[in-house]
Amino acid sequence: MDTILEMKNITKTFPGVKALDDVSLKVERGEIHALCGENGAGKSTLMKVLSGVYPHGTYDGDILYDGGVQEFKDIRDSEDRGIIIIHQELALVPLLSIAENIFLGNEVSENGVVNWPATFARTGELLQKVGLKENPATLVTNIGVGKQQLVEIAKALSKKVKLLILDEPTASLQENDSQKLLDLLLEFKAQGITSILISHKLNEINRVADRITVIRDGKAISTLDARGGTITEDDIVKDMVGRDMAHRYPDRTPNISSEKLMEVRNWSATHPLHPERKVVDNVNIDVAAGEVVGIAGLMGAGRTELAMSIFGQSYGTDISGEVLLRGKPIDVSTVEKAIASGLAYVTEDRKEMGLILEESITTNITLANLPGVSENGVLNEGAERSVAEEYRGKINIRTPNVAQKVMNLSGGNQQKVVLSKWLFAAPEVLILDEPTRGIDVGAKYEIYTIINQLAADGKGVIMISSEMPELLGMCDRIYVMNEGEIKGQLAAKDASQEAIMRMILKA
């Protein structure tokens, strides 16, 4: 069999993290090759190396493609050789037409003058190939996500694609749209186009993939041949998750109250721009004092949306449902009221939504509880400083000076500042959204210790995480969420990564 692509011993490091560690990948001409792995395992990084997003020289190892060693300088370079990548977040311009989007940067033109009749004619052909019945002049914003995905593929086809890479193409698609897309991939295969498919959905992979490479923690674990039909989802899952979990989490003796501290009942919310999409669908969850409850799920499962819609309706429209604290309904209609009622939400995106990077540690810590450091609206600078110093000691924020701007801190210390802010607001229930994202192992351990301390102090902690070992290591109980719904819950003693994965994929 003819090999179209061979990536040899690829190593890619970011400051402090080895994202890819000696990964090799072999793709044969004309096959559909699936890449599997947890969030953050390194799949997308590998594809970015391949497509030149990380140019030659920023990684170690060789890329052999189409018979020679390639040294791509940028995306254009790899596209010229027929490698086209379609990212999870679609890269379409919403207010341009389908035709304009397909030929964006690659216009059918002569001396800079666009030939519109030819553009539309060729768009028509491409749309037919991908089975999309839409007028080429329709604005992209006016068609659904599934169709937008097809426009992306049509765009790839317009560039004479030899190797098509799809990063989670079905993550935001409905079931029948997903099926159509997979059929299309099979059709391409019949035409001789090679595809690399990154996906979490094992049933889909099993349906279309010829071979499967599993990546875990930046290493290629195994390559399985799926053509014989003997590979089961369990085989893949085992390779995806099997890792040593000893002593990555501090010990804790749970002291969980028998009464529910907070309850969320029949909670629903819809997408702010697509009112027909229910992002959170009739969710019921609860947490007791002293309990750490996890919410597991894949990206796009609706976990962040659930948390933010509860926290002062910060996400979504048409929000319905009830939040109870100690059995009494509380008003969470604005963030101010949610905080006053005893809730806190630590965002997954600390730089964009959690911190004011230009301001000092002190300013950030007191922001959610300014009345606590002021009198009649006049700030007490000294009290602010002493609050900041208190948390610097308690939470172990490593900085010489609390007047330091937050942007100069490491990710772990920034996260500690965010946690300090919310601890100073003295909540009863904390919702932590990906509390250890993008921070190193040592800082993670410290964050875990803080979480345990919170539980020991009788707070209720809800922890959203895409890292399943983290949930298994930290939580007393885990809810599994997918497609906006709670698919079930597991007690800590019954939970395993396989069990969670199965519950997610059950749908």
Partner: protein, 394 residues
């Protein structure tokens, strides 16, 4: 602590280079023109004029600072100045209403104008550039309509006094000749009070944690500021004393410095401009704050409009033309960031003074209005480049 003291002075100055840099620039520009104009620049009569000429810009720069720190911009202030001047003229000259009534009515009208624009920005999320560009056109037109295309004036003495009056010398005659002892006393009092307040703040801070600002910097800062106040009041006292408008300005600067530095309101405006999403998720009512900054700006623009009309002693259709540009330039020269969240009241005032001194100095030495514009433009650009350079270096 002592051995780190000397080291930290350099560190402190380096990290606060922007704040001190602008003051140094102002002094350098003053000195430069003092030499070029053969000493006319700091003549008491010219200094008095300098304050009178720039009062309305400074008044508005203070309000504009809050708007810009909040992440917005207000292009309508020049037109509001003209409109409020016209409104005052019509009420006083044409309708014979008493000054004591007209002034508060005009201030309220300004606040309503600002609020009306702030409403669309805050609650409808229409970009402030567009809303206030519309406001600029609307109020320019309304000024013309109100005045019927002609100038209306003159104003009664009581109204004029707001802008061209001086603090009366209650100690009159104690010193022979033209020296305003009362004004001088005010200056001495202010020069004495500021370091006392500063020391008290330091003491309060020290109770909780180490004081960040080194003592040497503190002493130098207050010594320079004190001497400058004494020097300026002395010069002004040898002419006609402190202009009324200077006192109004000083009060406004004091009030807004306090609001921005020491109140939860001020802190929240900085948070809003620094990261609106984070501010919102911290329970801050960002919409109401944006609304407030615009209403406040409208009121200060109205005050500036009254001052300007009083100074010209007439309301003209051209009043306020292009003022917004000077005001916005002053705020940016003073170190505010276009993206919001950064900027100081005192910086905006220094920025306005730099512009004012350059206008004044260049006029005295006979630089034409054409080249004045070119130079002012380049100074604005240079100040902002200096900012960006410092930020990238850090």
């Amino acid at each position: 602590m002592t051995d780190t003291d000397t080291k930290s002075i350099g560190y402190y100055l380096r990290t606060h280079i922007r704040e001190y840099g602008m003051v140094v620039a102002l002094v350098a520009i003053l000195a430069f023109f003092q030499v070029l104009t053969d000493g006319i620049m700091l003549k008491p009569v010219n200094l008095t004029n300098l304050f009178l000429q720039n009062s309305y810009i400074i008044i508005m720069a203070v309000g504009m600072l809050l708007v810009i720190v909040g992440g917005n911009i207000d292009l309508s202030v020049g037109s509001v100045v003209g409109f409020i001047g016209a409104l005052a003229a019509v009420m006083i000259v044409n309708w014979d209403l008493p000054t004591a009534l007209v002034i508060p009515v005009c201030l309220i009208a300004g606040a309503i104008i600002g609020a009306a624009q702030g409403y669309w920005v805050a609650y409808w999320r229409i970009p402030s550039f567009i809303v206030t560009l519309a406001g600029m056109l609307v109020f320019k037109g309304l000024t013309l309509a109100l005045l019927g295309g002609a100038s209306v004036g003159p104003f009664p003495d009581g109204f004029q006094a707001m802008s061209s009056g001086f603090i009366p010398d209650f100690f009159g005659g104690l010193i022979e000749g033209r020296f305003n002892l009362f004004s001088m006393s005010l200056g001495v009092a202010l020069a004495a009070i500021l370091p006392i307040l500063g020391l008290r703040a330091r003491a309060k801070q020290a109770k909780f944690a180490a004081v960040e600002e080194p003592m040497a910097v503190f002493v130098t800062k207050h010594a320079v500021a004190g001497l400058a106040i004494l020097f300026v009041t002395y010069l002004l006292s040898t002419y006609r004393g402190l202009p009324n408008i200077l006192v109004i300005m000083a009060l406004l600067i004091a009030i807004f410095t306090f609001i921005t530095n020491s109140t939860t309101l001020g802190r929240r405006i900085y948070a809003l401009g620094g990261n609106e999403k984070a501010a919102k998720l911290s329970g801050i009512n960002t919409k109401r704050l944006t609304f407030f900054t615009f209403a406040n700006m409208g009121m200060l623009a109205a005050l500036a409009g009254l001052v300007f009309a009083a100074r010209l002693n007439t309301a003209t259709p051209k009043a306020g033309l292009a003022f917004e540009l000077d005001v916005i330039a002053a705020v940016f020269i003073g170190g505010a960031s276009m993206s919001g969240g950064v900027g100081k009241v005192i910086g905006a005032v220094v920025g306005a003074l730099i512009m004012g001194v350059m206008n004044n100095g260049m006029s005295i030495i006979g630089v034409g209005i054409d080249w004045q514009q070119v130079i002012k433009g380049l100074v604005l650009l240079a100040a902002v480049i200096f900012d960006v350079y410092n930020k990238n270096k850090a």
